[in-house]
Symmetry: C2
Subunit: 223 residues, 2 copies
Amino acid sequence: MKKIEVIQNVLEANEAIASRNRQLLDKHKIFAVNIMSSPGAGKTSLILQTLARLKGKLNIAVIEGDVASTVDAEKVQSEAKAVVQINTRNMPESCSLMAAMIESALKDTPLNNIDLILIENVGNLICPSEFALGEHKRVVISSLPEGDDKPIKYPLIFVDADAVIINKMDFLPHVDFDIAAFRRSIAGLNPKAEVFELSCKTGEGIEKWCSWVLEQIETTIRR
Amino acid sequence: MKKIEVIQNVLEANEAIASRNRQLLDKHKIFAVNIMSSPGAGKTSLILQTLARLKGKLNIAVIEGDVASTVDAEKVQSEAKAVVQINTRNMPESCSLMAAMIESALKDTPLNNIDLILIENVGNLICPSEFALGEHKRVVISSLPEGDDKPIKYPLIFVDADAVIINKMDFLPHVDFDIAAFRRSIAGLNPKAEVFELSCKTGEGIEKWCSWVLEQIETTIRR
């Protein structure tokens, strides 16, 4: 019983900090997106494509979560206004970003000069579903080589997503992935989720995704 | 501080149960392999290929770990001597199998009639590295579409692996994956790990992997 109580406290404490983060973001009219997926599904590639399309229109910061290393932060460094790396290896939860990590990262971010923060969570389909960060929207990426059964096997992360991205569409000829079945699983778990089919490699579908981000900023932050 | 103490207790309790599981397996001369990877890297496919090659030589049971669903257990059911499904969704740790879950699964496994247990862990490159299950060997699968940087970003799971499998070798023409760089990362983290390149789709390299499993059984269990 003791462990469950403690976990409950951690989740409650996380919610309180997430809510403070959200207030800080709203005060600065900054829109924040929490991007989650399995390792290698394309979080960094989506961020790079989004930076390429939107950096002329918005000042964008990136918060990079990883267990170890700074390889992703290095990839986005030249395109973003600001990049903050969080390494979770020695933190109490290494399998997800938590609100306290974002609170600390926001202290290193030039908030007066930013419109959009893209938060790359740790590559994991389980833990990140438990921890709100203060973000405005939650996005989950599934990529074709992972198979179309991920929503059935890892339902919680899909239930709370505002958008689900099917990435690596360029792999369609090489894999056995049933797009309609995947979409049915998402519709069953979370009928309100927007679903995007795209390829960060070829750029196919990126424009539609970026338009959605801009729309969300209009309706959420600039209303 | 309180949380860290509790986690320490959980890990110690897990070690004690893992050690009891190992004794039970050894008593029955059963060899157990803990198979870990990201979601969709090919754990179930590796199990299916291993069953196909070795079921004439060994009696094989499968323990399937998943957050939710029985889709993988259903896939292996017809080929294995016994299949036990563990769903971690409502357990204290949902992001990994733990020794207590295996202890309970072993009660449902016909131990007198089994030579090899293949344990499919939850799809995750972080949490499973913390929890010994009582297994004889730990195997991590990385698949080409995930990218060659996984050992750098999720080092802990690779550090303790006895074998690392590079799966989906049939994707090599379609992805930007540097096999030599991946092997160098593994050699840096864990020079003793065996590395196998294979494709569960085409069957390429499966024989070498299965020979290794047979060798390990000879030297570990039947010595």
